[in-house]
Symmetry: C2
Subunit: 295 residues, 2 copies
Amino acid sequence: MKYSASALAGALAVLFPTLAQGAAPPTPSQIVAAAPAADWVDVAPENLLVMDLADGGRVAIELAPAFAPVHVANIRTLARARWFDDTSINRVQDNYVTQWGDPTERKQLSIGTVASPPAEYDRAVAGSGFQALPYRDAYAPKAGHAGGWPAASDGKAAWLVHCYGMVGAGRGMAPDTGTGAELYAVIGHGPRHLDRNIATVGRVLEGMDRLAALPRGTEALGFYARPEQRIGIGSIRLGSDMPAAERPAYQILRQGSPSFAAWVKARANRQDDFFIRPAGSADICNLQPPVRRKP
Amino acid sequence: MKYSASALAGALAVLFPTLAQGAAPPTPSQIVAAAPAADWVDVAPENLLVMDLADGGRVAIELAPAFAPVHVANIRTLARARWFDDTSINRVQDNYVTQWGDPTERKQLSIGTVASPPAEYDRAVAGSGFQALPYRDAYAPKAGHAGGWPAASDGKAAWLVHCYGMVGAGRGMAPDTGTGAELYAVIGHGPRHLDRNIATVGRVLEGMDRLAALPRGTEALGFYARPEQRIGIGSIRLGSDMPAAERPAYQILRQGSPSFAAWVKARANRQDDFFIRPAGSADICNLQPPVRRKP
């Protein structure tokens, strides 16, 4: 995926056939709003995790089995067993993560989960669908997208990157890799130093406005000082376990589609009335694929 | 500032003279905790802006006159006149900004402020104290620090970068540059595409945990739908206008000090027990100089 000028012109011609020569180019939002149905891909119900907070808030997460298959299998097993129900959000560390799970750390995990998953911190780039952006990255030789996910690569391996809203599996010290029973979402500037040091298992599709706005914990690492400060989790269900009528449905702008290429280019070269000097490039964490509720 | 291996070794020898060969190197936090008094620089009271929220929360901001002198002069004038008192936080957009000012946009600004400040979006790199990091940056030819601030440069100009906690002056469309009466703090992944498109006037020293945890507004751009949702600002005072006994005092780890060089290196090469694969580099927004309350 080169995002070349000619590819962009082609994409724009398809999306905005009446775009006048010399008129202001479409903004990223306009490109997303105009993307045809074929440029969107459904989030599979078996990759959808629906967390309903005790107070009624909802957080929807997409799992990434192509990058962390054993961790994702564990999370599916736990969700199917409704293991997460009545657990809580226990840690909110400013500019870092919101983390949830069993605060007692004593809840039985031997319900079909793998006790010590392998270190799914990266995978072979071959078969990952990785496509590099033409922009520099502070952390990796190449950053881009893989199968619709923000990713990076060194030419051999590919890995998901720690951007705002990405979900990882909490773990202790090496060689512990975490089971998937303790999950966190990034709520600050991408802590990319965690890349390849922890299993990144998914991304938040909806509800970041809630996870990121929770009161910060005052104990070390942002843990809440008192149990009553924790935010109760009513349930975490797998989308495929929910009745179809209840299940929320999401779509991701399809990597490689004309709209996606045009959106990347427009994000890196803001040209609406507000912007005076387009950057000409963008950080992968500012290029997370657009998500929408399926219309 | 090369952060060379020998400079690092020298800095570590100074800071940790008993560090055993082969022992785990100090973590970034340990380096900051061990930094001697000479490696810290005071925030000047005339550059300190103290915002007291109506509910008792406090946010402290350092102004950046070396980068936006006219905007900063305006902000000082407004704070001295207690112009901001009884205004409010009006906009909280997830993964973007928290913004405050006069919600009516009718409060008289003709109290000695410059109505249309120049476009202080960058400045000459000469004299800025810019020192490049040896790491790639997605947006600029070079990223690094300038006078203790996170910055970038193209070799001619230098500018402050939009990282978590940086403060900018809201503006309308060009050529309006904003007066400084409408301010915002970044609460998400650094929106670096704003660099050089808006006047960056300061940084939050304390209170980000509060600004970033506010409920997100549900109107376009995150504005609150109803006036009663706004968060009242009791007062915004200039530090130099506060009685010394009431004035909070902050220090920044001094750019160019041995501790600073060691801290940068350690942040880019995490080597405590948790990290398996140090990144070997870091994003400027993950290298914002450490701040502390003056002991």
